[in-house]
Symmetry: C2
Subunit: 581 residues, 2 copies
């Protein structure tokens, strides 16, 4: 037996108990004749004491230990003279009478501290040491807890956890598939699932009523901060539901997680914002509602006043920033630089200071008088002391830039409080988007999403106007997940494939089994999928999902620790009937 | 809204309630002026009534429905005159006043019944219909419940659910890997994990103390009844543990599942049987302990008595079958045929009837007198009325045949009761087995398994005698899982790799990161992995794990429903820098 107790559970109630502990040496301090060691395990830190007076050999042995040595000790719990009230075990220490070194440790390549001296690449190479750091342990344990709370919530609602296969069929739609050559079937390949979409729909047709799975999905895409080649989805589907039923079920799940994980009581019904309103009010389909600063359209009232820049703009709009009329020249210059960054790409920034004394000062004083600016301010619901920030240009582009500017101002004003959560559903997404380069429509969500009943007649005449029964859950500006009510009629599904440019043969080859399944009594159904990594990252308050994944890949898709991907033996490739080009 | 209630929850307490139900048409019966429909969903069956007297149109509409149509009805709950006490909803019916056909259905290619007329291949092609059958639903829901109970149990013991990566590194040890070509890294490949072995060990080195995961694993092996290309493992690892700690934790898990899932109270400590004893007593390392019939060695006392067949045999042993001395000639002939089957391969069967009157009748009466046979009977603890069945030949071969014969006799005697569970740990496995064809040792469990301390000295002199800290959990003759205490010392690990024929370079290339990790304070650790599919199959009382997997592959590794594996576009292959041979 290596331990009677762990390093996080002993306190004053255990004084005089004989115990055995095991763990890692976090720190060694020699004070006169005493040596103190902080012994660490997953559960906490306990102080060990060695007294050179009472046991010289033992104390000498302790002094030779290094950081991260793994040791096992026996001794008696004693009350500390110098108490540390900050930790649970801070009132006691162990008077050690036996010390066993279980494993030595070389000096780690970086410090095992919250603020470490190790760079990204080094920490990834020694991820097993990086994972010892408290911040990482906290994040992975948070992830564990969230997964279990999700399961508890969904199990309570009669959802059944069903595993769908990982070796499936490659479909050229959507992102790029990872493929897996088959040894038993020459020249043929499996693909790794981008999502279990089709299988969950088949499970509904099979009568399982409510399905969920916390499941790995795969996309062979170039990586960004919030993308990994493999990621985890909370995947759900329900039968005999309309949109409102799905939203209710998963609104409940979000509230359950808020409460259980963040101890945050969100009682209101989630706001439902149409896609159109989201774009018009916030310039994005994933607005951060922790603060206001809605976008106001000024195109009508600001145009045709001699200011050629505006006159040549399709769209002029702005946000009003509370109590910021005193913004300095320097800060305004910084903002201008910000909106002109290539990623944002505004042509310039127009500001109007609505001063406390009722006067206006703007960067377009040459073209607009007090009446004009007062009119703008009124339109934007600005009050005295507010700062108006206005962008202009092509409409979509400008809305997008305003969205970024709004987030930036929210950040500067300290309005993006990470202890606050503002969820909403974005609804009524367009069903299709026109892909100019391919001269055809693309599914905005996926090809199985149903159009709104009242818009079906537009499919033949003005398909881009058709709204979908599709919805996204957005929290604090992060798209946490989304879903739709699916098509469950074979004729409508066939029509969708046609609109999306599938030939009959290709649709049959790719999705024939689904179309076939629709013939045998498919129920109405719909569902949701949530990006689990993102949700954990949001709750952990970290920027990258890498920080909530035990062994992530880097931006080149490499795991630097195990050094993969790597070459394989020619023999292996030959067995798969393949050769390198 | 498609339903106010599901089809399994209405009973006499709901009489007169206006309800809305949705589901599938299971059965239609026309009785005089009345039409009865059994409406089915996941939760049960509710009877619908249509009366031609009160609503002719509605009743006519109902009569035109077919099996597996999806419908939605509104009506009032009424007490039945003809009650069915066998089902929860059997006392009521719904007097329907509104009927909506949600989806029609063609006649399914096979009947959706427990005993279906559909063959294997047809049911796999239409798996979504096969999954509608009650037996399959029961199995998948059982699987769901077992997974959740496993999680609850392990969470309670501070195990942390941590996801390990699916895209890892190919290692030529063990079974064949599936490989995944990397697009971003030309000429390089990921591999799908055969198990998360290395990652869970790294998590222990990272200080996570107790890890688990219910996780997909992959082996590119030819398929048998209990093998699939992808299968699911309950994967666990613990730090600061000895073998007994691990056994205790997972014995608890098994007992928890017995209790929660099968309502079976197993109070005793599990038997621990050494590998050597398992082989000697039962001829197998996965004995079925629901019945006795231990194998008894007769080599010493049966040899050298003029019977050349025995005299030329390395090993002679048998089992004693209770109260079967009256076995007929015909049955004994059948048994002889059974043991001579090529899969079992015994040369013949010798029987001795120890009759109720104390006399003996055997197939070797020519060579052995009453005293001899009486001696055998005594050695085998046989009583009057028992039947002795004896096999002979090369030792391992004969033990193996006796194991099969023992199972067959257990089956015939009705001793393999599927409502009874007899678990045991098989312990003290050999660390290594000699591979004659490669002239080197193979790891019996895997290269990370630690040898018993007291046997380490044999590694250099008589390695095949070294016993491992390895253990298997066997229930009713099924190997449910196994594990070991791992090596956590880099020198011992290096020695193991050498014994297993790894060159230093190969060991470094494949497992360098693990050896490296051992340098930075690796704790003692060990764990277990359980075949989740097998465990579910055992509890579901089905022979093949296919019956507890939603979408299994067939024995050629094909999914006949989605038709995978399949060809991919040349373009896709080119992007991966590959071409077909």
């Amino acid at each position: 037996m290596y331990r009677t107790n762990n390093c996080g559970e002993l306190n004053i109630n255990f004084v005089n108990k004989e115990v055995k502990l095991s763990g890692w040496v976090q720190k060694i301090r020699n004070l006169g004749g005493m040596t103190f060691i902080d012994l660490r395990d997953k559960y906490g830190i306990t102080q060990l004491v060695f007294d050179i007076e009472t046991n010289e050999n033992l104390c000498e042995k302790a002094r030779k230990l290094g950081r991260e040595y793994v040791i096992s000790v026996e001794g008696k719990v004693a009350e500390r003279s110098n108490k540390n009230k900050k930790i649970f075990t801070g009132e006691i220490e162990i008077i050690v009478n036996k010390l066993i070194i279980l494993n030595a440790s070389e000096t780690p390549p970086f410090t095992i501290e919250d603020k470490t001296d190790g760079g990204d690449e080094l920490r990834m190479k020694y991820r097993y040491l990086d994972l010892r750091r408290n911040v990482n342990q906290k994040n992975l344990i948070l992830r564990h807890k969230m997964a279990f709370e999700v399961r508890k919530y969904l199990n309570n609602l009669n959802f059944v956890d069903i595993e769908t296969p990982v070796l499936i069929k490659s479909t050229p739609e959507g992102a790029r598939d990872f493929v897996v050559p088959s040894r038993m079937n020459k020249g043929e390949f499996y693909a790794l699932p981008q999502s279990p979409q089709i299988f969950k729909q088949l499970l509904m047709i099979a009568g399982y009523d409510r399905y969920y799975q916390i499941v790995k999905c795969f996309r062979d895409e170039d990586l960004r901060a919030d993308r990994q080649l493999e990621f985890t989805q909370i995947d759900c589907e329900m039968s005999f539901v309309e949109q409102e039923d799905v939203l209710e079920a998963f609104e409940g799940m979000a509230k359950h997680l808020f409460k259980k994980i963040k101890n945050f009581d969100y009682k209101k019904k989630f706001l439902q914002l149409t896609y159109e309103d989201a774009i018009n009010f916030y310039g994005t389909d994933k607005p951060d509602l922790r603060f206001g600063m809605k976008i106001k359209n000024l195109t009508e009232i600001a145009k045709n006043k001699n200011f050629e820049v505006f006159n040549n703009s399709e769209f002029i709009a702005g946000i009003s920033v509370e109590k910021s009329a005193n913004y300095s020249r320097k800060n305004l210059d910084k903002l201008t630089k910000f909106v002109r960054k290539p990623q944002i790409g505004a042509k310039g920034l127009v500001y109007v200071k609505y001063n406390e004394d009722g006067s206006f000062k703007s960067s377009v004083d040459k073209f607009y008088d007090k009446k004009d600016l007062s009119n703008w301010a009124e339109n934007m619901n600005a009050k005295k002391g507010d700062l108006l920030l206005i962008l202009f240009g092509e409409k979509n582009h400008t809305l997008n830039a305003l969205s970024e500017l709004r987030l930036e101002m929210g950040e500067r004003m300290g309005l993006r409080d990470n202890n606050k959560f503002e969820p909403l559903w974005v609804v009524d997404f367009p069903l299709l988007e026109w892909k100019e380069e391919d001269k055809r429509y693309n599914a905005m969500h996926h090809p199985f999403t149903s159009p709104k009943k009242e818009d079906i007649h537009l499919l033949d005449t003005d398909a881009s106007k058709v709204r979908a029964n599709a919805y996204d859950l957005v929290i604090n500006g992060v798209e946490i997940g989304g879903g739709s009510i699916r098509i469950f009629d074979k004729n409508l599904q066939a029509k969708m494939f046609k609109l999306l440019g599938f030939t009959k043969e290709k649709a049959e080859n790719q999705f024939g089994f689904l179309m076939n399944a629709f013939k045998y009594g498919a129920p109405p159904h719909g569902g949701c999928a949530f990006g689990f990594d993102r949700w954990v990252a949001l709750f952990a308050d970290v920027k990258s999902i890498k920080d909530v994944i035990a062994f992530p890949k880097n931006n080149s898709g490499k795991d630097l620790m195990i050094n993969t991907p790597s070459e394989i033996e020619d023999e292996q490739l030959k067995e798969l009937f393949l050769q390198k080009i």
